[in-house]
């Protein structure tokens, strides 16, 4: 029971890390997604390259580059900041792809209808397409968020005191090497499964308000 409580101490950090990274991604993904659809080839190329490289390198490697690598050149960031920045920029790339999927899911007729009403590209995007894109993107974003809860565990490798950090600590200190990890697994499962259920319910409701 003590072990359980100790491992639980990591939960706020895991959640905080996930939510912060997701927030960065939700915002940062917008310019990247728009860049991908830009009419300027150079901008498009830049956006695609950024997305591919961010997604192509494992998260743990990004954290190391930011924490250890940049640390040798710039004043070193603390572990938590490094983890938030690392997972945050990766999330930008994944969210950009999710928005892109959302953009193509919104019916062409919505653009046409708005243009026929004489709205400019900017306001169509802001008032008509944008809100719909966010709605269709919710399920994919939610399953990405669930994945991110689990992926945030890599932050333990640079010393962020999240769930796995405490599990590891307990495993080494107590006579029971296996138990703490099982508890950690259990905590993740308890966190992720209800999220998955909630997503399905939310998805069904949001789908009704999108034109296709």
């Amino acid at each position: 029971m003590d072990i359980f409580l100790t491992v639980l101490q990591g939960v706020p950090m895991t959640i905080g890390l996930t939510v912060s990274a997701l927030a960065i991604g939700a915002v940062g993904g917008i310019p990247l997604a728009l860049g991908r659809r830009s009419q300027i080839p150079a901008l498009r190329f830049l956006a695609v390259s950024l997305i591919e490289i961010l997604r192509g390198i494992p998260p743990i490697v990004w954290l190391f580059i930011i924490y250890f690598g940049l640390g040798t050149a710039l004043p070193q960031l603390d572990p938590l900041t490094s983890a938030i920045v690392g997972l945050g920029v990766i999330s930008c790339a994944y969210m950009a792809e999710i928005y892109r999927g959302g953009l193509s899911a919104v019916a062409q007729g919505q653009w046409e209808a708005s243009e026929a009403l004489g709205m400019g590209r900017q306001s169509v995007l802001t008032f008509i397409i944008g809100p719909q894109v966010f709605r269709v993107s919710v399920p994919a974003a939610a399953s990405y968020a669930i994945g991110l809860i689990k992926d945030s565990s890599v932050a333990y490798t640079i010393g962020v005191t999240e769930i796995v950090y405490f599990a590891n600590d307990q495993s080494r200190q107590s006579s029971d090497a296996l138990g703490p990890f099982f508890i950690a697994a259990l905590v993740y499962v308890i966190m992720t499964i209800p999220c998955a259920w909630a997503t399905r319910a939310l998805d069904a409701r949001l789908r009704m308000r999108v034109a296709r």
Partner: protein, 217 residues
């Protein structure tokens, strides 16, 4: 800045590490995908107990971070008398994760096979086992290929987690070079590019596979 100048000297060790990473990924997939297929078939079992049990195992497998699974096999298991090398622990852990994830991918593929196919096989007198083996699984697998490639890319990336169990894969090699040269940024960047050199072309492959599939089925 001498970020790039030392790259040639890092390359031999990093390439050796990359070899280990690729090896772990391939072994995990080779063991995990057949496991996933068995779970996918079991999840369609008529026996409710079997079904519930398998879905439970898969949900737990998917809900637990690969990193935790890895720690269970490497640091946890010795307590129960079974000590694995870092290589074995990495392969077993990633194979287990692969099985859990690919079972969902393959289950989706199997379900995408139209019912008419099963009926046609039944009307031809083929039994359940033959129908599954010759008709449903080959078609379901094709449907699943793009997602399986996508997952294989993630597993290749996940081999970097084996750094935590001291397996001399790409990230471990890079880190150890960094700790002797203090040139972390340079060597980690090179390692990152080496990962990307494999994952980015592989993800283009997914797109191509999707297109080819759309033509054929």
């Amino acid at each position: 800045m001498n970020i790039f100048t030392d790259w040639p000297s890092y390359l031999p060790e990093l390439l050796a590490g990359l070899g280990v990473s690729v090896q772990v990924a391939l072994l995990s997939l080779a063991i995990g995908i057949p496991g996933g297929l068995l779970l996918a078939i079991g999840a369609g079992s008529k026996n409710k107990l079997v079904r519930v049990l398998i879905i439970g195992v898969v949900e737990i497998g998917r809900g637990t971070p690969a990193l935790v699974v890895l720690q269970i096999f490497y640091f946890g298991l010795p307590a129960s008398g079974l000590t694995l090398t870092s290589m074995a622990a990495s392969v077993v852990a990633l194979a287990a994760t692969t099985a859990a994830y690919t079972s969902e991918i393959l289950r989706g593929g199997l379900q995408a096979v139209p019912q008419g196919e099963t009926e046609a096989a039944g009307a031809l007198g083929m039994n359940r086992k033959d129908t599954l083996r010759f008709i449903v699984i080959p078609q379901g697998f094709r449907v699943a290929i793009p997602s399986l490639i996508g997952f294989a890319i993630l597993i290749f990336q996940a081999t970097s987690l084996a750094y935590t169990v001291a397996l001399p894969e790409l990230l471990s090699q890079a880190y150890s070079i960094g700790s002797t040269t203090f040139n972390y940024l340079s060597v980690l960047l090179l390692a990152g590019l080496m990962y990307a050199a494999i994952t980015i072309p592989a993800s283009w492959l997914t797109g191509r596979a999707e297109k080819r599939l759309a033509q054929h089925l």
